[in-house]
Subunit: 434 residues, 4 copies
Amino acid sequence: MASLIIRGGTVVNHDHSRLADVLIDGETIVALGPAIDAPSGAAIIDAGGCYVMPGGIDPHTHLELKFMGTVSSDDFEWGTKAALAGGTTMIVDFCIPDPGQSMLAAYQDWRRKSEKYNSFARCAQLGAMPLVHAENGDVVARMQEAVLGRGVTGPEGHAYSRPPEVEGEATNRAIMIADMTGAPLYVVHTSCRESHEAIARARANGKRVYGEPLIQHLLLDATEYENSSWNHAARRVMSPPFRAKAHQDSLWAGLQSGSLQVVATDHCAFTTEQKRLGIDDFRKIPNGTGGLEDRMPLLWTAAVNTGRLTKEEFVAVTSSNIARILNIYPKKGRLAAGSDADIVVWDPAASKTISANSQLSRIDYNVFEGYACTGAPVVTLSRGNIAWAMGELRAEKGDGRYVERPPFSPVHVANSTWKQQSAPRAVRRADVTP
Amino acid sequence: MASLIIRGGTVVNHDHSRLADVLIDGETIVALGPAIDAPSGAAIIDAGGCYVMPGGIDPHTHLELKFMGTVSSDDFEWGTKAALAGGTTMIVDFCIPDPGQSMLAAYQDWRRKSEKYNSFARCAQLGAMPLVHAENGDVVARMQEAVLGRGVTGPEGHAYSRPPEVEGEATNRAIMIADMTGAPLYVVHTSCRESHEAIARARANGKRVYGEPLIQHLLLDATEYENSSWNHAARRVMSPPFRAKAHQDSLWAGLQSGSLQVVATDHCAFTTEQKRLGIDDFRKIPNGTGGLEDRMPLLWTAAVNTGRLTKEEFVAVTSSNIARILNIYPKKGRLAAGSDADIVVWDPAASKTISANSQLSRIDYNVFEGYACTGAPVVTLSRGNIAWAMGELRAEKGDGRYVERPPFSPVHVANSTWKQQSAPRAVRRADVTP
Amino acid sequence: MASLIIRGGTVVNHDHSRLADVLIDGETIVALGPAIDAPSGAAIIDAGGCYVMPGGIDPHTHLELKFMGTVSSDDFEWGTKAALAGGTTMIVDFCIPDPGQSMLAAYQDWRRKSEKYNSFARCAQLGAMPLVHAENGDVVARMQEAVLGRGVTGPEGHAYSRPPEVEGEATNRAIMIADMTGAPLYVVHTSCRESHEAIARARANGKRVYGEPLIQHLLLDATEYENSSWNHAARRVMSPPFRAKAHQDSLWAGLQSGSLQVVATDHCAFTTEQKRLGIDDFRKIPNGTGGLEDRMPLLWTAAVNTGRLTKEEFVAVTSSNIARILNIYPKKGRLAAGSDADIVVWDPAASKTISANSQLSRIDYNVFEGYACTGAPVVTLSRGNIAWAMGELRAEKGDGRYVERPPFSPVHVANSTWKQQSAPRAVRRADVTP
Amino acid sequence: MASLIIRGGTVVNHDHSRLADVLIDGETIVALGPAIDAPSGAAIIDAGGCYVMPGGIDPHTHLELKFMGTVSSDDFEWGTKAALAGGTTMIVDFCIPDPGQSMLAAYQDWRRKSEKYNSFARCAQLGAMPLVHAENGDVVARMQEAVLGRGVTGPEGHAYSRPPEVEGEATNRAIMIADMTGAPLYVVHTSCRESHEAIARARANGKRVYGEPLIQHLLLDATEYENSSWNHAARRVMSPPFRAKAHQDSLWAGLQSGSLQVVATDHCAFTTEQKRLGIDDFRKIPNGTGGLEDRMPLLWTAAVNTGRLTKEEFVAVTSSNIARILNIYPKKGRLAAGSDADIVVWDPAASKTISANSQLSRIDYNVFEGYACTGAPVVTLSRGNIAWAMGELRAEKGDGRYVERPPFSPVHVANSTWKQQSAPRAVRRADVTP
């Protein structure tokens, strides 16, 4: 396989940046340093003025998901193509055991399992990282009834019936249950102050808990559900719903302080037509929004350009942290000799206005429509191949590969050791026989 | 009925103290002030050098409770006599729907009900104050299995299987569920930092939540379960168990700051013989300890004599606060014209060493054995009658009366109004018909 | 002096409400109960449908204050008349040692004193309650220079140069210094989350610290300083400045949970003409706003009508709590036999729109202009005299009396006892002689 | 210069570990990977069964410091030799402007400077990282007088006069002042919950603040000052003093959660003879303890062996984090091609009992005497040279080099950008001319 060299860019890793060339042989980075000699015949990408970063990893997507009586519109082909156009080179798509279940049944099932107390304990044994969607399903079901009982059937009812308290409580509970087993915990789509505080509180007590805000919750808020257009509001229906603006400060501070670690999308794209399944009852609106294609430019604009995060932290929350949590680092999530050549060449001066008209995603709208980004990918490499360049998609269906995730990350091992220290011990006694 | 006058004491109410005489006619206080003229024939109690305070209310007792295959040893007669000897003139005993249930079944039942989301919502409608025993029963059951699996069968296993996290989580959850219905909440036997913090957090967000530490948790700690005598340890088995000493600082600070409001006992006395039902398995040790007779002198010693609480705050946490929460104030919980003459004349210089040998309670030990108190009742009046005086019990079986508790306390009414403010409202839309 | 009876109202105290008549003889309440027999010749006030409450106490006013080169416009005569019209019967006006000092000099002076560590320690000895205006004056001075350096000279610069952090830090520091001496602490005009959290944190550690939000900070926010009219903005200049709206949630929750105890006004009224002294430099705008006349109806509307506070809590935060903190309770702050007859008869159905046109205060504007209140006084009694009734002022200049405040409140005494417990004790050693 | 290869070990960096050889040429690592071909003539270190980690960096030492009338006993030669024996290859020694100042004068000076508000603002301009020793010196001085006034002259008086509140307050204040200038902040020797909470609170609000617990505070507690030997107690006198044991939980959790980042020693060694300068007055006991030689084995034992920290986190808190904060990463703090060859070969099975008898440090005692460590260095390389191996010191005086620290770390740049976003802006107004 031919060699490729990325010349003259600033290589940005989660812990350091420097001017360096990146030499790729086949699927792998083989050298990284200043003024590398290119092998004869090597293709050259000029990255002058650009940042060269690990490709984004979106740890939370639902492509072609059978859900709520329909199938999410971005299939694996077009979903991953959209990802590449946005600088994301790896996704973690969710395997849902039985997609025929109603949302409520799924909740109850999770609830039942957590009560049976098997899943977390089993994760602890297997060295797996348990994930939770944290909302108290019983309370949500009651709230839905109450909201409908007041005659609220539109998308705003979705938000009314899933207040932040319901998420905060379930996060707090999942943390306790995981902790009792000695397992670490990863909380998906942390959307509100209450949930973030439960995570931060656990971490402040030494527990290994991770939280994942979505780019949607960082940028969009609950006023979207009061839009006078049903379509507009319904397109934003996802769980947890968008929150009052004040919650965003909490999420941003979590990313800055390290109490939240990953920015994802929960990409699950339903068309307007699909959304209208819930025209009479907000409970039937397919839950999900897009974002896979736009996560990286949106976050760069809102985080790096404003000074909220450094560019190194941008790499951390879009790629390296989740690679470490998934125990696939530094194969993924770092630019270094020996790592997979999943790379995005990022032009911090490039500007792009997000629009459904120009997206690869297969839905007819974009919840970020009109959002002006500064900073965007110019070339995306997937395992050494130019998958997307200068607006042109080059990846082919089937180019992707499954990535194995080894169990027993260092955090797991430490946790087990720690639990062992405080294991119950019997007290010897004189008066135990009657 | 004859008149009675208490002369020359300092009347202590929760908000103020002053030198005053107290005139009682029948069951009721009719006047309170300096140098009251006694009606001819009035009996006189000399309270010089003493504090005259509202009789204690213990809002959490289990007299003659059928529980875990046996019956708690203090029946209503002797339990209330013990109470009077300690300056407590009213108790709230718990009606347990089906005492035949195992502890676990009771938990599950509560859990099930809370999930069905009926009890709190119904309380909100009725203007009743919901109470919770907050421990995550599912996790406790798993922990019990795990602890037994490690060969720990003694009373220390009781504490191992009910760590503070399990209580903190359940408290946090109960608060959220109550809040969703608009009901206030009263958390019984708040024993640990985690639970107190959940309550304080809720209050810091404007929610109406109350917490009740027990005198046992304020003074005794988990090292009791490591005692080399099985009997010693088993006698201290109650739920929640005693905690590591550091938790006590949190509870005391809660009483000082007002984030915890009531000191109770959860008095549920089982003899050593009854405790030995669990000789082979800590799960079978009847749960419960005594304290009804000793709560007031113990708390005075540990709180007022040290400067942790003022004497007014002592009245608040032993009597007035719970009277207000129960909506029976100022009939109970205050010394004022028109209030019931439930009164304790308190000698701050009296000393008493607690011992099973000298107690009225019908069990063969006292978990506070040897604790030296300074400050004790000299006379206890129940509805105008001298029920206990100078070490002599005068109350007769049947003297007590049931106290009605009106629903819809001011806090309830305010909460409903507040909830009303944020009720769901439908958004009008143009595009709702397809 | 003649008798007066208030008939048929609901008497509201901080801990309880009931239907009762109030009989007044001279300056004092002599009886309180249902269906009291009026002495012959007694004047009668019909309070049917009304609440009868302790007159408001505003613990923080500056009448005819020489400050920043001018004198506040409400003198003692008109300030107290305005107070009576609004149901407030007692004020605590601030004695400022040297009114000739610049604001900065005053800060530095306070700072110097606190550093010399004398004032708080002296308060502890005297049994006095230290009060602090908590803003870090050094930082404010630097911020003012920085803000002016950017060309911001208008009232918005006042807010820019006094961010919440500056108040939060000073509150935290004052608490620590007071705590080291064993003195309790009262923090005036707590305006922001940071300061409230410092107070709540201290209380959560068992310290006796009190916080006083102003009605202005509860209802008005920092957007007022961006008003396109200089006059509008300058009239709202006070220290601390109004805050971003999110801070109000924190203050309200503090009142609900009891971590903040008193609502005051810091009434210090300057006319628009006086405000224009700072037309070129926001530092010269006399600091102060009004509120004395409007505090009670505004708070009732925003707190009781919404369900945030009960009517009993309204009495607590406008009257009883500060009376207890000042150690003048129940002479003030309670309706009971023996208390001063400072009473407001409150019609919860009365409506009033606040306007400078109809106010007694001597300034030409009202920062609450146009605010619609429901709930207002109909009669205000000061020491038994009808001082204001049905819109008509009856009090005369000189009617007021100075109120003595005894030192050594119960909280003081408890604090000293507590400090004594943890006093340093020398360790005995063998090797101290060389 | 000759080549050197470290074979067969597990290379541990802060973000990942793997089996790899490390090839060194001169002072620099030139390759890192599995089964590297050694150049002919290369020396070989067999690291089988060992971890190969970045050399420790101790960011806080005081070698040959003139202080309190004497000079700390470890000079640069012996201090750094001791460091090498313990696996530490770089120290940051403190330049104290005028060592003739009394401790109090130094505090006052710092205080004065911070009030003048120059140092932090200047740091912000220069791109420097400000450091603070956070204790409220004025309060300490008062407390010292109070403690002496009670006849406490021994080392226990040192602890009595510097309670945690005094440190927590100063930390909180320094954070606010730094934040106002836009500078990040590094808090040295964070010893208590209060100080850690101030840091964590700031971070939870998105501020860039770092905290440095010392190995002493992590392992030793205030009971040391109650030792019956004056010498024992005085040897432990440092500022801040050791704290009650409960504070250690907070510090450990800070390292686990990332709210504290660095473990240092504040190594400042005074002999017993020097300590006895304060025999009559604890204020004259030279402040300082040792630890430079023992930090790494002690921390490994208490953190990694127990499961509190992973071995990667051990590298983070002993080396990589401070290297990043000092902006010298990855030259220091990482094992990678291009980095300085500062390396410790660590045998996790090696055991060592700490004793003054066997230490290189020039003092006659060790505050960790008798502490049994498992895990210790076998070889320490400094810039490619074997400086210490198998118990034998090979470094020579003068081998060390000064390390330049470039200003304007990424965090600095982001902070400035962020501050720029919220800079004051003037409001345009119509009525500004009279």
